[in-house]
Each structure stands twice: as C-alpha cells, then as structure tokens.
Symmetry: C2
Subunit: 255 residues, 2 copies
DNA sequence: AAGTGGTCTAGACCACTTT
DNA sequence: AAGTGGTCTAGACCACTTC
C-alpha cells in the first residue's frame, strides 16, 4: 500500500484528494471541523470513535488520531479516555475562565453576577462593522452589562453582536439566564465562540463609566477590546470591557 | 516485543523505568529537558537526530518523535525539516516578540531601543524574595530601564534577578549590548527564560514614573508584573513594567 | 546520495469506562 | 466483555536540505 495518499498515479481521486496538497490528517481535521460547524454533533455530545471516523474517511486510525489531537489542542473537542471525544461546550466548568481572565488578588476565582443595563438592535458604527466584517449600518445587537464580584461592580462591558445571528435576543431573555454569556450564545443561537483577540490599555474612567462602576471620574481602568471568532475565523462579537483593577488583575501566561 | 515498557514481569528495570509510571515519551521528554538544562547542547545548536536519540534511549523513533513534539510545542526546541531539531534561542527573530506584547496601534512592530537608568546589587525585599523563591535579604540584581519606541519613552521597567545567577552584570555591560535582554541572559549567563506569568493592571503614574516617561502625574499606565521561569519552573526574574498605552496596546490572544 | 524531519499505515497492548 | 482513547512499535515513503 502506498504511503502517499495524494493521488498516486492511476488511482481515482477520492473526495479527500482535491487540488490542495495538504497532509491527509489536516484535510481530515478540516472535514471534522466542517461537521462541527454544521452542527452534525452538538456541544457536549460525543463525536464518532476514531475507528468509525477512520472507516468513514478511509484512512488509518492513527491519521484520524492526529487530526483529533489538533482539534483538542485548539479546544474544539475534549478527549476523555475510555468514554470518547466530545464537542467542547462553554457550559463545562473547565471552559468558564478561558475567556474571563480577571482574577481577584486574594482568594479563589469564582464566576461573577451579571446585571444587564440595556440590549437593543442598532446600526453598526463603521469601526464595529469593520471588525465584524460587515457593512457599516448593518443590524447589530448592542448590549451593556456590569459584572459584580462579591456584589461590587468591577467590570463594565459593551458588546456588539452580528444582528443576523442573534435574532430574538432581548433584555428579558438575558436577565433570565444564569451562567456565562457564551453558554447562552451556544445553546440558544447555535453560535460557538472559539477564539478571540484582545487589545489591552490603561484609560481613565469617563463620567458615564465612573457612575456605573461607582468610582471617581478619571480613575485608571483596564480597557479590554475583544474580537471573538467562531468556526472558519468568522468574527461574530466585538466587546469593550472596562475593569477596575485595584483588587483584581488580568492574568496572562506567556508560554 | 511487549508494548508496555513499564517493567514487564521478569525484565530487569532499565534507567527509564523508575518508581514513577509515566508514559515512555514523557520520561524521554524529561530526559531531553534535563540535557537541555545541563547545557549538553547550546542554544542555536542542533540536538541529535531522532534516530540517534531513539538508539540512545532504546525506544522507537516514533516515541522520541512524540517527546520532541511536546518540547517543540513548549518552544524549548525548534524543528526544521531536512535540517534537524535545534535548541531554541532568544536571538532568533521568531522569539523576539514572545515576551514583548506591546504593539503600536498603527504600523509595524519593531524592537525598541533600551536605555538603562541603573543596575546594582541589593538585598531582596520580602515580596521579591517570595516570588523568586529565595530568602528576604538574599542578593539580587536590581535594574531599571526605559524602552523607547521611535525615540519616545513608552515603557519603564524595574527588574530583579537572582543574584547568584547573574554575577558580573553591570550597567556598563548592559549599555554595550544591543538586542533583547533575554538574549544577553542566555548568552552571557547561561540562563534561558522559558515561560512567564503576568498580572496586568491599570494604575496612575506616580511622580517618579511620570518624570521618566514624560507624562503628567496620574496618567493611566498599564502595569505588568511578570515572573519568569527557567528549566524546572525555577523563577529567576521578577519584573514590573509601566506602559504608556495611548498609542500602543498589549496584544493578547485567547486560544 | 545521504541524512533529516514529516506523514501514513498496521497491528499490538494498556488504561479506563460502561454494559 | 466490549468499546473507547492512550501508548508503543516497525517499517514504508515523502519533502526538504546539505554534501
């Protein structure tokens, strides 16, 4: 059996062997990712076993394994020995703090309470539109909220979402919901945040932020501008957070 | 040949089979890491080929491969197809920005100029000693420097180093040196920074920082507290940086 | 041509979970 | 007992670099 799967001379090209000459395991990684994107398996569910996928794609188990290893490294799936491989979900405690890096200087990190100030549909400002890769003026959802740690307001978030993906997202629906926002997006709207980029700055609190966060105007705040992406690196959320960092800090590890 | 290497009944235990029952490839990863720590191969040099290492450790090439894959994922080594596997170094451009996350809002990122304000040996304050895992009062090197981007002072760093590891580090030696500080530490003192944790906050500039950074007292600054580690997770550096973020930002990716 | 890392296969056995 | 992911081996061939 030839080891090279990329169209050995004479063999009819299968569905895997397109014009691109990527390694087999990367092609299979792409195929599995597309199935995940299509929702063929829902968050929390098991995907087929390595043997089944190997049979489906007509490759060896080792090749499927390498593809799934890469997906697990990107947190798209979670491996559990003896049980199977599962679609990652924002509901499992393991994922809670991957997108919330604010940590108390002393004591344990625990999930904050959310208080929503507003949630309405607006036209995208040009800057937001650029980041979301849509046209200025297109419909977006704008929401503002405060995160409370031990009852104290610490974070003020301003969040823009692609309007087309979040129809029916209302203030009422938000206030009913407990737990991380990305869990709601995943369960109620079928949009899974996979990855984000952030830009951090120190700024002074403006009058409005100062009022909401109950600090003096001009107080130094940590500004965090985030763009979040779903499958295929499609941007779906833009967020601007202002953090009070007198008793909390943004934790980061340089690998 | 039995697939399980962990002391099959009757077989005499080799050097790899200690009391710990870790997978073979992890044991080999540890052994290679210890060789790197001992300086058996210097930064920039090639380590032995996979076949050689497989022979040395009496395992298959695939097992060595998995160990090296893990080391490459942690940036301890760099793989180059057709050439070999090389000990990572802070001198290659690839590594320059792994520990410098400050990026201009517009334009390309380029390496800043360093200006050293002081460098002297002092006794470790208790807080620094705790982070460096040494005793309060032990000798440490304290240095302060400014980083200039396009000629403008943007970063003020205060750096503490374990005294025992950096004998002979003087202000003169620093000012002669061009390029990243971690490159000097690696070449001149044999200390390689592998990994770091950072805590970010927004603070107001105090009088001294304001003077050095040429801003008004109270200006919001991004405070970055870093602890850097070498092999074996030994802390060797504590650093406190103050960043002006009016035209730069701290770039972070949430994987 | 020789040597290196990169991919792929096939088969074995292990550790863990569920039935 | 059966099924899952996890480890290990042995061997083949490919892509790339150097001699």
């Amino acid at each position: 059996m030839p080891a090279n799967p990329n169209s050995p001379a004479g063999a009819p090209p299968g569905p895997l062997e397109s014009a691109t000459f990527l390694p087999l395991y990367q092609q299979i990684k792409t195929l599995i990712t597309q199935s995940l994107d299509r929702g063929e398996w829902k968050p929390g569910e098991a995907i087929p076993s390595e043997m089944e996928l190997a049979a489906r794609f007509k490759v060896s188990q080792g090749t499927v394994r390498k593809a799934i290893d890469a997906l697990a490294a990107e947190n798209l799936v979670v491996r559990r020995q003896g049980r199977g491989t599962f679609v990652a979900t924002h509901h499992e405690p393991r994922a809670q703090f991957r997108f919330l890096r604010l940590t108390p200087d002393e004591g344990e990190q625990h999930y904050p309470e959310s208080r929503f100030l507003e949630c309405r549909r607006v036209r995208a400002p040009s800057e937001v539109a650029r980041l979301l890769d849509i046209k200025a003026g297109d419909a977006v959802v704008l929401m503002r909220r405060v995160l409370l740690f031990d009852g104290a307001p610490i974070v003020l978030d301003e969040i823009w979402l692609q309007g087309g993906l979040f129809k029916g997202l209302t203030a009422e629906r938000l206030s009913e919901y407990k737990g991380p926002l990305y869990g709601l997006f995943e369960s109620e709207f079928g949009v899974r945040m996979l990855h984000a980029t952030e830009k951090l700055r120190a700024v002074g609190a403006d009058a409005d932020s100062a009022r909401v966060l109950e600090v003096e105007s001009g107080t130094p705040l940590l500004s965090v501008e985030r763009v979040s992406f779903t499958y295929g690196n499609r941007p779906v959320e833009v967020r601007r957070g202002l953090y009070i960092t007198s008793h909390h800090h943004y934790q980061n590890d340089l690998g």
